[in-house]
Amino acid sequence: MTSSSTLPTTAPCVSRSIISLIAACGFIVLYVPMFMDFAFLFWAKDEGAHTPILLAGIGYGYWRLRASFHWVPDNKDVSFAFLQFSVGWALYGLGVVQSFYQLQGLSLLPVVAGLTTLAGGRRALRKCWQLNLLLVMTIPLPASLAEAILIKLRLALTASVTDMFAWFGYPVARHGVSITIGFYELRVANACAGLRSMLSLLAIGGLYLILQPLRRPVSTIIFLSTIIPLALAANFMRVSFLVLITYYFGSSSQMLIHDLAAYVEVGVAIFLFFLARFAIERALEGRLA
């Protein structure tokens, strides 16, 4: 902050909007092609359907902090920003050459952090670090990792959904990750999708907390600990819903509403987060915010 005090902070030589526009161009050049790839490869399969929602949410988070972006970086800010850009470009380039989408996605973190530093100095970076960190959750999970970790969750989920319907007396059976209900076989491989997107749900919960922080640390911890069970609950509802639709209306209807279910799931999750927060505020913070 040494040299910035010597600068006219309110009237830079070129208007701030032009500077922002040029920075945005650089960002768009890098990330629109990447997001188009991601949309085609990951988001279209419903395992990634929540990522755009999360991205929009994070974008909104940055928009809310736009007052911190005044575009008068000092020399230290500039060197730090370009250091971060270099890391970002290296990751991005390696990612493209290798078709290693996770590296490409990871480059988003240093590039956005660099832009934040350039736009608002290290002070803005300190304000945005949580949002920046949350960008990790927009990276598609590597397939090998997803398989190894999520298949257990997937089987557990399939089992619990099957048990529930069996308890209610539905003709339901489970074989590996497929559920058979009535005459139909539901490849709940698609539930894997649900579980991958559960990670996005967790991120959305985290974003909610960043945008609307709770006042006491203890309520923050309690809220964080409710995120996982609530996201699981939303996911459980989604799979159960799909099973019911398959049973009553056949697999073609299931296919039709499959994508819709992913978005409804986000809605349900956000509603549950909202309820949890409301309860925590009522119980621990004395009054409504």
Partner: protein
Amino acid sequence: MKPLSPLIYVLMFSLLSAATLGVATYSRDRLASIPQIQGTKAIDIPHRIGPWTSISPPADIVEPWVNDGGDLAAQEIYDHLLTRGYRRRDGTTVTLVIAYKRKLFQEDRIHRPEVCYYAQGYQRSQASTGTLALSDRRIAVTGFLATGFSRSEKVLYWIRTGDLVSENAVLQRFELLKATMNGRIPDGALVRVSMPVDESRPRAEQADADIALSMFLKDLLNAVSEQTRTVLL
């Protein structure tokens, strides 16, 4: 030093970003246009392998993939897929699955049999790793017992990624990274053999299954042409 106008910095950022995209895309396309030597390799597995004669594969074979949606997508994972049963004179039968992919990128993968068995309703136990000693080299193989609802199978397999024979996902990714850095796109193969075992029988008998499987693998590698061997290993 008086800082330059931020305009310079954002211009630099945008231009260098565009340059990054350009160079990276160009290098990727150049890499992808390298003719594939591996692409012309044929997998030719004889129907008689030492004491083994081919039979049609069992109907309830565990597919070498995890079905994530349509069957079509599953078929597209590999460029070449061979499933075959073999019977020895004493009645022992094994199932051979060979899956081959010409070009492996980071996001591609040869599905690990553990995961496939798991997803298709089997429980995995008794995981083991061993080495298969051939005349000229030793290969690391992985084995496990898959316990299903109505039957159990002993499974033995290896996965080749480029020059690496390992089922470790991190090592595989590193091998891909290394190969691409040297300007080539590696290929990969899964060689998996399995046979049904009766779990109610003593463990010694199950160990016989392991021996039969590794003997089959040795016979297989001795029986195939040099070219096919380089695909498998």
